[in-house]
């Protein structure tokens, strides 16, 4: 197990290097630079700025300079926000995206598991049809539609929740639901189908024949067996929740990293783009590793060799 984790961690190095290299050269391929403005700046200023940020050097030299910085966990200064370094900026913003991601995950798991279990429990009844329809609807409606609808109903019409912001607990409800909604729909479907599949297994039949109640069978015996596909899904889903919150962050005015990522791309803030891509890549790799470990615990047949 330890060996497996160490081997995986070593594998991270070439993967991250490849990601940094690709991102570094790809962002440079995009037309326009960080200092292009609507109002022209004098040539001397442009030249001095490029010199200051080493943009006047050859691309290869810049690349190695950047790599040297990354080894020391220094992603350089932001081109757009000159008084902050990328590291400061990311550390400032990532906890907020994390918080939003975790709340959304809790919401998605709670709603998804409940609906999934109920749906499986009342298989082929009107309740099942309703919940399955909810799941299909949830998968189809994107967060940029859900978000404004929730705001319209809860914030503007009923006035029981705030429109936007990220200070008080109440402000965190609507964004978490908007972001977690689609995942709760996926989880509903996954849980429902895997429970139905597990219900057909011999050990469940044994449990029922021994007189265990249906509720006990579902909650204790079935759910554990049904969790495995959910865990497989949760790895990328968590990464998606933590990193893919751009739209929700924009609608609800949340100062997270997702919004910054898109802004940085529009502004050609090279160092910021690579810094965020690096953090996201690291996060996805770590989450996948965690999923591998959890799966091993859930299913002893999985080998780490």
């Amino acid at each position: 197990m330890k060996k497996y984790i160490i081997r995986k961690l070593f594998l991270f190095i070439p993967i991250l290097l490849a990601i940094i290299t690709l991102t570094f050269f790809m962002v440079r391929l995009a037309p326009g630079g960080p200092f292009d403005r609507d109002k022209n700046v004098p040539e001397e200023v442009q030249r001095n700025l490029e010199e200051y940020y080493h943009l006047d050097e050859s691309l290869l030299k810049q690349y190695f300079r950047y790599l040297y910085g990354v080894i020391q966990f220094d992603f350089g200064p932001s081109f757009r926000k000159p008084s902050y370094t990328i590291r400061e900026w990311i550390f400032m913003r990532i906890p907020i995206s994390f918080e939003l991601g975790i709340y959304s995950l809790i919401f998605a798991l709670f709603v998804g598991c409940t609906c999934g279990v109920v749906s499986a429990f009342y298989q082929n009844t009107w309740i099942d049809t309703c919940l399955t329809s909810f799941a299909v609807l949830g998968i189809c409606i994107p967060s940029f539609v859900i978000g404004p609808i929730l705001v319209l109903v809860f914030a503007l019409h009923w006035e029981i929740l705030p429109v936007a912001g990220w200070d008080f607990p109440q402000q965190k409800i609507l964004p978490s639901i908007s972001l977690g909604f689609i995942y709760s729909a996926y989880i509903t479907r996954i849980i429902r189908s895997s429970i139905i599949e597990v219900l057909k297994k011999d050990y469940i039949r044994t449990a029922i024949s021994k007189g265990a109640s249906v509720r006990r069978v579902i909650l204790i015996h079935t759910l554990k067996g049904a969790l495995q596909p959910l865990v497989t899904f949760l790895g990328p889903a968590t990464a998606g929740l933590l990193t893919g919150s751009f739209i929700v962050e924009t609608i609800f005015q949340i100062p997270g990293l997702g919004r910054e990522f898109v802004e940085a791309t529009f502004n050609r803030d090279y160092t910021m783009i690579i810094g965020i891509v690096f953090v996201y890549a690291l996060l996805i790799l770590l989450l996948n590793l965690i999923v591998d470990i959890i799966q091993g615990y859930l299913d002893p047949r999985i080998s780490y060799e």
Binding site: V41, N48, I251
Partner: protein
């Protein structure tokens, strides 16, 4: 029994939810809440260049002079008075003895000199450094031909007297002082946190920032809030009515409007196009629509053989029905642009050269050899991705097809790609705009000097250059306006650009804000605003 447990749990959760929901709204009479568009780049007056930054900096800092928000005439600020030489090249400013920094130290003439030296230092690479080039030798110092800053025409005669020598009589010198590039800085603070002439300096962060304006920085949480509070050392602190101002960086216009609607914001940065009608009918008292010194126009790449003939450019310009565009697309009180420099800048009045005459436009095209638009190649309008730009481009596409029978393709590009295309003259016709940096017609007309980086059309005219250069040096206002008028006449005759409309300043202002004067600069004098006592119900 088990259901009973769930019921209790449900009641508890609902109770907590309802309780928390009932307490989130607060109405604070001492605090103004402002939507401020995109997140600021920084709070350093020397390195920032946007309107969003300027709005906050004008609360934090104060220059030698300020502007009356109603008349836009210069009024005393840090300088209690000033003297101007007869040839208008020498300005002597007398700095108030009761002007202090937010740390209690006095503001001196040297603080201004320090700031200008920093801006002109090549290492800092301030994007607006060129605004200081009107000071004698400033350009030479910036370009390294002079090494000693004492050779530049700004001298602190004593702690409270500042003398500025200009290269030429700059008519707009006093009005320009409201721009953040002219603000003083507290050198010791900057040096405490880094190098004086370096960009990556955290002196602007919460707890470090020192300013001399009516407000001082209380906290800056990036992408969340910038809160400023009354500066206890401000020379005119008794006239500052509002204790705190919170600036929120809200780039989503719809979110901003929703926050305004529920009473969370007192002032917005803008208003979404599709909400204009609603406010016009339901809440006209909140809607501010005021002419703004900005012009929306189409650039023409005159280096492209199709557009090298001025008659063709004229034909395109004369066949646009601007009234339809402002009335049916923009709907925000914008004015059709039949000239280039907007009205409202002092005594200057532009020549009205452009007309809407589709018959004459077609005749011009016929004369250029394209009878009824035949054989005229398909042309392309480039714009940066935006709903409004697209609607306008579509309208013009239809007008040109209808009146001139020419085919137009539309091409939208991401902002930076679009800028790159414009800089490399890799376009045929491109959407553009100019928002003035200071209140003077020359700021519009200097863009089309043949050597200006803002030209981006390939157009050059020696007579035009000569007239604008003469205007730089002319001290008599009437003569100067006449020179600029002649220059604009050339521009409108040659038409390397097609003016479309003049902007309006479109914002929402809550009913509790008093002393708010809309003006063509979109300039807000924060220290003069007041808040009405208001009950919670009436806010919603």
């Amino acid at each position: 029994m088990q259901y009973q447990k769930y019921k209790i749990l449900f009641i508890i959760i609902s109770g907590v939810f309802c309780f928390s929901c009932s307490s989130y709204k607060t109405v604070n009479t001492d605090e103004l809440f402002v939507g401020n568009g995109a997140e600021v780049q920084d709070l350093d007056p020397a390195t920032v260049s946007g309107v969003t930054e300027h709005r906050i900096l004008s609360a934090l800092f104060e220059g030698l002079t300020s502007l009356d928000p109603e008349t836009l005439e210069p009024i005393p600020a840090v300088a209690e008075r000033w003297e101007v030489s007869d040839d208008k090249r020498f300005y002597t400013f007398f700095i108030r003895r009761n002007a202090y920094w937010s740390n209690g130290e006095p503001v001196t003439a040297k603080d201004f000199i320090n700031s200008w030296e920093r801006i002109l230092s090549p290492k800092l690479s301030s994007e607006y450094s060129y605004l200081l080039f009107c000071i004698k030798n400033a350009k030479d110092f910036f370009e390294g031909r002079i090494e000693n800053f004492s050779d530049v025409g700004a001298i602190a005669i004593d702690e409270h007297t500042l003398r500025v020598e200009l290269e030429y009589p700059t008519a707009y010198f006093l009005k320009m002082q409201v721009h953040n590039i002219w603000y003083p800085i507290h050198r010791k603070t900057i040096e405490k946190y880094g190098r004086f002439d370096e960009r990556n300096n955290p002196w602007t962060h919460t707890g470090n920032h020192v300013s001399n304006g009516p407000y001082q920085l209380e906290e800056w949480i990036p992408n969340k809030i910038i809160r400023v509070r009354k500066n206890p050392y401000y020379w005119n602190k008794d006239s500052v009515a509002i204790e705190n101002i919170s600036f929120y960086p809200i780039d989503n216009q719809m979110t901003e409007e929703r926050l305004f609607r529920i009473g969370y914001l007192d002032l917005t940065n803008t208003i979404p196009l599709r909400k204009l009608e609603y406010y016009k009918i339901k809440q006209p008292q909140s809607l501010v629509l005021h002419p703004y010194i900005g012009v929306y126009y189409y650039r023409i790449n005159v280096k492209n053989p199709i557009f090298s003939n001025p008659s063709i450019r004229k034909s395109l310009a004369y066949s646009i029905d601007r009234k339809q565009i402002v009335e049916y697309i923009l709907k925000g009180g914008e004015q059709p642009a039949l000239y280039y420099v907007p009205n409202g800048i002092g005594k200057y009045k532009s020549p009205q050269k452009i007309i809407y005459d589709p018959v004459y436009a077609k005749q011009l095209l016929n004369e250029a050899g394209y009878i009824d638009g035949k054989n005229f190649p398909t042309i392309e309008i480039l714009f940066n991705t935006s709903e409004a730009h697209k609607l306008i481009a579509e309208a013009i596409q239809r007008m040109w097809k209808k009146h001139l029978n020419i085919d137009v393709k539309l091409l939208n590009q991401d902002w930076k790609v679009y800028l790159s295309s414009m800089n490399q003259l890799d376009y045929q016709i491109a959407r553009s705009a100019w928002i003035a940096d200071f209140l003077d017609p020359i700021n519009f007309l200097e863009c089309f000097l043949s050597y200006s980086g803002n030209n981006r059309t390939g157009w050059e005219n020696k007579q035009y250059d000569k007239l604008v250069e003469q205007a730089y040096r002319e001290s008599n206002e009437d003569k100067r306006n006449e020179l600029l008028f002649q220059a604009e006449e050339i521009l409108l005759e040659e038409l390397p650009i097609i003016p479309i409309y003049f902007y309006t300043w479109k914002i929402l202002v809550s009913s509790r804000v008093e002393n708010f004067y809309p003006n063509v600069l979109g300039y807000i004098r924060w220290q003069e605003l007041k808040l009405k006592e208001i009950t919670e119900n009436s806010v919603q």
